[in-house]
């Protein structure tokens, strides 16, 4: 109960102010001249009507002062609207990591098509593409240059489909067979996991790899798939594996599933019921959960037309005060 004296203080302050004002009014005669027989003026009929006008003007000025004060205090309080926006753009990095061995080309072309559709709706996400067979080749690094991405995706799509134009001299397998072997998934995934440029802690962009492979390894790998998976985990990269040739009891399929899920990602077998676009949608919705975009709260001042009102009030007040010679 410490606050009981607050009304008391307010009362004292108000009383002191009013009292001081009255004393000031009383003592103000220092500047003026005392005159006698004021009834010479006050008994006039014209005086009474003039006095009435004066009172009205004074009252109007008082009202204007109050209104102006009110408007001023409202403006001074800075009326604002809180605008909470959930920004829908997810600033994440996606690396397409495609096995371009002969068996995978059809799926790769499908992924290209799906991603061309996705890219049209992106804003702020970065996409990179690495293809691998025996060795990995970076088709294009992480970029948000969507025009370029579209070009490259289109080019690879046509290359995978074998529908390259006559003036297009492009080999999607270039750089993927610099060592002996085929489908060295461990090396491919390890290369992909190292493709994310900025791995420092303050870069909170979610990282993911879409890995399309059948995990049929043919040759000596430097990285085993598990080691590559561990590299992905170290780099906080989730691996979403798409396997077009899934056999539930196949060790290759099981290994791929274990590694993918070990990184926090998913494993998608391509069976009759699933499509690439469905899988990508699924991946997107999972990834959306990792995006740490807090709702953006904006406090927007909304003075409305009050400043204008204040200007008008002050203007009218000045005119009234001048008229009343207050």
């Amino acid at each position: 109960m410490w606050w009981w004296w607050i009304p008391l203080v307010i009362l004292v302050v108000v009383a002191a102010t009013v009292g001081g004002f009255l004393v000031y009014r009383r003592g103000r005669h220092g500047g003026g001249l005392p005159v006698a027989h004021v009834d010479r003026l006050t008994k006039l009929k014209a005086y009474r009507s003039a006095m009435r006008r004066y009172r009205w003007l004074t009252a109007a000025a008082l009202v204007l002062v109050l209104v102006g004060g009110g408007v001023t205090s409202v403006i001074a309080a800075r009326p604002a609207a809180v605008d909470a926006q959930q920004n829908e753009d997810y600033k994440r990095d996606i690396l397409l990591c495609l096995d371009v061995s002969g068996s995978m080309v059809g799926v790769d072309a499908e992924i290209m098509r799906v991603f061309q559709n996705i890219v049209k709706g992106l804003n702020g996400e970065r996409i990179g593409l690495r293809v691998f067979d025996a060795s990995g080749y970076m088709a294009f690094p992480m970029t948000s240059d969507y025009e370029y991405i579209m070009d490259q995706l289109g080019l690879y799509e046509r290359a995978f489909d074998g529908t390259l134009g006559p003036d297009e001299d492009f080999d999607y397998q270039a750089g993927t067979s610099s060592v002996s072997g085929a489908s060295l998934v461990g090396d491919g995934l390890a290369g992909c996991a190292n493709d994310f440029g900025d791995l420092s802690d303050d870069n909170d962009r979610p990282r993911s790899i879409i890995l399309a492979t059948d995990n049929i390894v043919n040759g000596n790998q430097i990285y085993s798939l598990e080691q590559a998976g561990q590299l992905a985990v170290d780099n906080e990269v989730r691996v979403y594996a798409i396997n077009p040739f899934d056999y539930p009891l196949d060790t290759a399929s099981q290994q791929l599933q274990t590694v993918a899920e070990g990184t926090g990602g998913e494993y998608y077998p391509m069976d009759l019921g699933s499509t690439v676009s469905g899988i990508i949608d699924n991946i997107n919705s999972i990834e959306a959960g990792y995006i740490q975009t807090p709702p953006e709260v904006q406090v927007v001042d909304q003075p409305g037309n009050r400043p204008l009102l204040l200007v008008i009030v002050v203007g009218v007040l000045l005119v009234v005060a001048w008229r009343a010679r207050i």
Partner: protein, 285 residues
């Protein structure tokens, strides 16, 4: 400059101010028989020797005028005059000049001062010190926190108390004469010779750009600039003031009371001169 007396009893002295003696008069009038109670030194021994009964020299009882000032000392007199100078100063100067003139001629001056609460009487005297005391009393009485004026009461009291025939100067301001006051002036004038001096009041309107604010001594309320600068109100005010002066002048003239109005300190002596001159020429009805 002198104060002219119209009354027959006083007329004996007309034009003889210079022959006035101080103290007892030595102007011999006639002789009469001694009566018990008469001063022995007044016995005219030579005439008694020629006669069979003691004879007494009879002197003219008095050749001195009683000059009486009735000064309004209410707080209204502490206000400023038409010129902006204090009305008090003008009133004091007017009383001083007249009292000095009177005592120079051997007249005795007395004074009533009063406001609505008390009335003071300064008994007759003829010395400069007496005048000084009188003026100091006026100066001390007239203050901004003094009680208000009540001329009617003051005049009533003076009319009741003033026995000797006198020349009465009423020092007031731009007062509005009402019927009761009118009656009291008539009553005074029936017995005495009354002269009226108005100390002009200040203009309430602000006509110059730099007119200082004014406030009423009664109530202390400041008159708003809005009213003081209103052209329409100024015209009406001027008419009202002119009418007020006219009424006062007409009423006093009708009674035969000479009246003068003093607007400024510098104008005091000329205004008094005009007043006394007018009074001298006036024919007593």
């Amino acid at each position: 400059m002198g104060i002219h007396a119209h009354r027959k009893t006083i007329e004996l002295l007309e034009g003889e101010y210079s022959s006035i003696h101080h103290g007892r008069s030595h102007d011999f009038d006639d002789l009469r028989e001694y009566a018990p109670g008469d001063e022995v030194k007044d016995i005219d021994w030579k005439a008694t020797a020629r006669s069979t009964v003691p004879l007494i020299k009879r002197y003219i009882a008095s050749r001195q005028h009683n000059i009486v000032f009735i000064v309004d000392t209410g707080r209204g007199m502490a206000a400023v005059a038409e010129s902006g100078e204090p009305k008090k100063e003008i009133a004091i100067q007017a009383v001083g000049v007249l009292a000095y003139l009177a005592t120079r001629h051997g007249d005795r001056v007395s004074m009533f001062t009063g406001d609505e609460e008390h009335i003071d009487f300064t008994p007759a005297g003829g010395s400069e010190a007496h005048i000084e005391r009188m003026l100091r009393a006026v100066d001390a009485r007239i203050q901004l926190d003094a009680p208000g004026s009540d001329m009617e009461h003051l005049l009533t009291q003076v009319a009741r108390r003033l026995g000797h025939r006198s020349i009465v100067f009423i020092v007031s301001d731009d007062i509005a004469l009402d019927r009761d006051m009118d009656k009291q002036i008539a009553r005074l004038h029936a017995r005495h010779e009354v002269l009226w001096i108005s100390v002009g009041d200040a203009d309430l309107m602000a006509r110059q750009l730099s007119a200082p604010p004014v406030w009423a001594v009664d109530g202390g309320v400041e008159i708003p600039e809005y009213l003081r600068r209103s052209r329409g109100l100024q015209t009406v005010f001027d008419e009202g003031v002119a009418q007020r002066h006219e009424i006062l002048a007409t009423r006093l003239r009708k009674k035969g009371v000479s009246a003068g109005r003093i607007g400024s300190l510098d104008g005091t002596v000329p205004a008094l001169f005009r007043l006394l001159e007018r009074h001298r020429r006036a024919r007593r009805s």
